[in-house]
């Protein structure tokens, strides 16, 4: 019963996100602030993780190939496929559920605890639109983060493969070009938009409807990470089934 109530409150929140809009000039400023916090602020950690995980994928692939009949370009091919199809969109989104999701939940949760949300409501402002809508718009730029992750992941794979002497540069690049299907990139970005919506709304919902004090803000942040991750994994499966099978 509680789950049904929670799901209901999530969809009611979504309905309120797109009604009684905040004044345009204020909203524009909020959107730029959210882009700074959620997108620009996430780039360093995404870049760091992508580069090194890309390197690890290349090394792991190379170390597991001991059959001379398997072409050397497979290292580049496997790195590209892993990064574009799964690592960049899904793995990075799980990391973002921890970083961005917890930030969103704790910031909205703190506003709830300190009555800042009540203050907005008393002023006649639709607090859900004011708080959540700018996050959804900011996260429309999330595919940019994922594109950066794809590029740096592949670059990391190339650096580790070539400078670790697991592959030649020519073979690695041949692997990157081998059997390339542009639709895989489209599929990855479609997934990314779905994940971006989940990343913006689920942590906001957890923060907005939390009750209690500072301890509950911490609990809500943990719940937010769990729920966001679960929904990302589930939607990943559904989108993959729909688009690739």
């Amino acid at each position: 019963m509680k789950y049904l109530k929670d799901i209901g409150s999530y969809f009611l929140m979504l309905k309120k996100v797109f009604s009684s809009f905040t004044k345009g000039s204020v909203l524009r400023e909020l959107i730029f602030k959210e882009i700074d916090d959620l997108i620009i602020g996430s780039l360093p950690i995404v870049a760091f993780i992508s580069f090194f995980v890309g390197g690890v994928i290349a090394i792991q692939t190379a170390l597991n190939i001991d059959n001379p009949l398997i072409p050397e370009y497979l290292v580049g091919f496997a790195t590209r496929q892993s990064i574009i199809l799964e690592f960049a969109p899904t793995f990075i989104s799980i990391i973002m559920a921890g970083k961005v999701g917890s930030f969103i939940t704790s910031s909205i949760g703190s506003m709830r605890v300190t009555e800042q949300i009540d203050a907005l409501e008393v002023m006649g402002i639709n607090s859900i639109n004011y708080l959540v809508f700018p996050k959804i718009i900011a996260l429309l730029l999330y595919p940019f983060v994922i594109a950066v992750a794809m590029f740096l992941g592949i670059l990391g794979g190339w650096v580790a493969g070539v400078y670790g002497e697991f592959s030649t540069s020519a073979a690695f690049i041949e692997g990157l070009q081998q059997d390339f299907k542009p639709f895989h990139v489209v599929y990855a970005f479609i997934k990314t938009f779905v994940f971006a919506f989940i990343l913006a709304t689920v942590p906001s919902w957890q923060g907005y409807f939390m009750k209690g004090g500072a301890l509950e803000v911490g609990k809500a942040s943990t719940n937010s990470f769990v729920w966001t991750s679960v929904l990302i994994i589930l939607s990943n499966y559904i989108v993959t089934q729909l688009l690739l099978s």
């Binding site: 004044k23 204020v26 800042q116 009540d118 203050a119 008393v122 002023m123 006649g124 402002i125």
Partner: protein, 254 residues
Amino acid sequence: MIRVEDIKKNFGKDEILKGISTTFDRGKTNLIIGQSGSGKTVLLKCIIGLFEPDEGLIYFEDKILQDMNEEEHRDLREDMGMLFQGGALFDSMTIEENVMFPLRMFTKQNKNEMLERVNEVLRRVNLENVNKKYPAEISGGMQKRVSIARAIVNNPKYLFCDEPNSGLDPKTAIVIDNLIQEITYEYNMTTIVVTHDMNSVMEIGEKIVFLKNGVLVWQGTNDEIFKTDNEDVTSFVYSSNLFKKIRDIQIKEQ
């Protein structure tokens, strides 16, 4: 003027408000007092629309809150200023931005006009040179004053204060009380203050509504509260040793 008629509010099986009826007058500081858990804050939240009463009507002048459409509701809320218990200032904004916020949301003033008004109300609450500071960088008393400035910046008709003195030392509490009363006169507002602070009652209680377990058991002025025979009120008023001693001295003198 705000009038409430037979307001009832339950949370699950708990009856919090059991039919409250009273009037809060314009140009006066109206106090809702009572022990913790008596339903004061719930009544206030029903009046400002954060809670919906299960039964009863709330009148703002001659209009019924429950009958208002969305636009009327929004217009009414633009006429409300609220001072929350903890100040409820926006952490991510400077003091200037906090006070300017209602102007940015609801007026078409340019930045210079807004700044002029912000400085005017900050001066009114005796705050200067704090414009660029963040709420965390000023004291609790100053936060309350900023919150009052934000509440009055848009010239509201109604001012609501939820325990404005909580967490403040007695001297600062009196400053805040007097400020609320002065502003009520200046702006001719209907002010409702929820408190359990007897000093506030003595300082600014022009009309006092006493609640006990969700029932209005007494109402009157700050002079009358010390003369009433109502046992619930006297046990609340004389629960502090200070007031008991003052009463004993008065009885001896008589």
